[in-house]
């Protein structure tokens, strides 16, 4: 069992939802998030900060605005992880920085609150 956490652009959310449900993955959780990546760092500021210029260090902390994103959580059986990741990449890819990241983390167990079932029986089946 794996959890796929995907950070995507706000305007890609509808497309992503549709693509995932077309791929047979219907259950998901999403929430608002703010974030920044490694793409927007200003090289000259970084170098200045390394040399110890006070102004550059001060700007590093504040110039980087946090960008609104959507964070999607999906818990999947191992065999569906690849499909989910590829679907998300295919839909969200524009090739520019800011398209997002996908993290795959292990999940110990899952329980359905309504039925009390354990394990993969709780998750989506194709």
């Amino acid at each position: 069992m794996k959890e796929v956490m995907a950070i995507v652009r706000l305007n890609m959310m509808n497309k992503t939802k549709k693509a995932l449900s077309d791929a047979g993955i219907s259950s998901m959780t999403a929430r608002d998030a703010l974030g920044r990546g490694k793409g927007l760092v200003d090289r000259s500021l970084l170098e200045g900060a390394e040399k110890g210029y006070e102004e550059a260090i001060a700007q590093l902390g504040h110039s980087q605005r946090l960008i609104p994103k959507r964070l999607i959580f999906v818990v999947l059986p191992d065999n569906l992880v690849d499909t989910a990741v590829k679907t998300i990449i295919k839909v969200n890819r524009t090739g520019k920085s800011g398209d997002g990241k996908i993290f795959v983390t292990p999940v110990m167990d899952s329980v359905s609150v309504r039925t009390g079932e354990f394990g993969t029986a709780v998750l989506d089946e194709i």
């Binding site: 995907a6 990546g37 260090i57 902390g61 946090l66 990741v85 890819r93 090739g95 795959v104």
Partner: protein
């Protein structure tokens, strides 16, 4: 790779973000959350507040950077020198794979880097 989830005070977030940027870890995701800790919330007079607003910061780093990032967050998020109740918690969990959507590059926890074909 490792995901570091830090729960910090909302007024310390800017401090932590600046510290992480200076430490060379610019990539962060921030979520607003509410919660309570071991002290069961804050009791003021008759009223107990057990949904205290906090900010949750997600950072994914290489295994060897873990201790350094945790130290940076602790230093930036602590109130005063000794710290106080409500300064927050840090949780560490494993991440097996990281994909960058724009380039389709996959990084495995074993250190392998490859491009995914769609």
């Amino acid at each position: 790779m490792i995901m570091i989830k830090s729960i910090v005070r909302p007024d310390k977030v800017d401090n932590v973000l600046a510290a992480l940027m200076e430490a060379g870890f610019p990539a962060v995701t921030k979520l607003s959350v509410v919660g309570r800790g071991k002290q069961r919330g804050i009791k003021i007079g008759e009223i107990t507040y057990d949904e205290i607003p906090k900010e949750l910061l997600l950072t994914v780093v290489q295994d060897q950077d873990k201790d350094y990032v945790i130290k940076t967050v602790i230093e930036a998020a602590r109130t005063g020198v000794k710290g106080a109740y409500g300064d927050g918690k840090i949780f560490v969990s494993p991440v097996e794979e990281v994909y960058t959507i724009s380039s389709g590059i996959r990084e495995m926890s074993s250190g392998e880097v490859e491009e995914v074909t769609i």
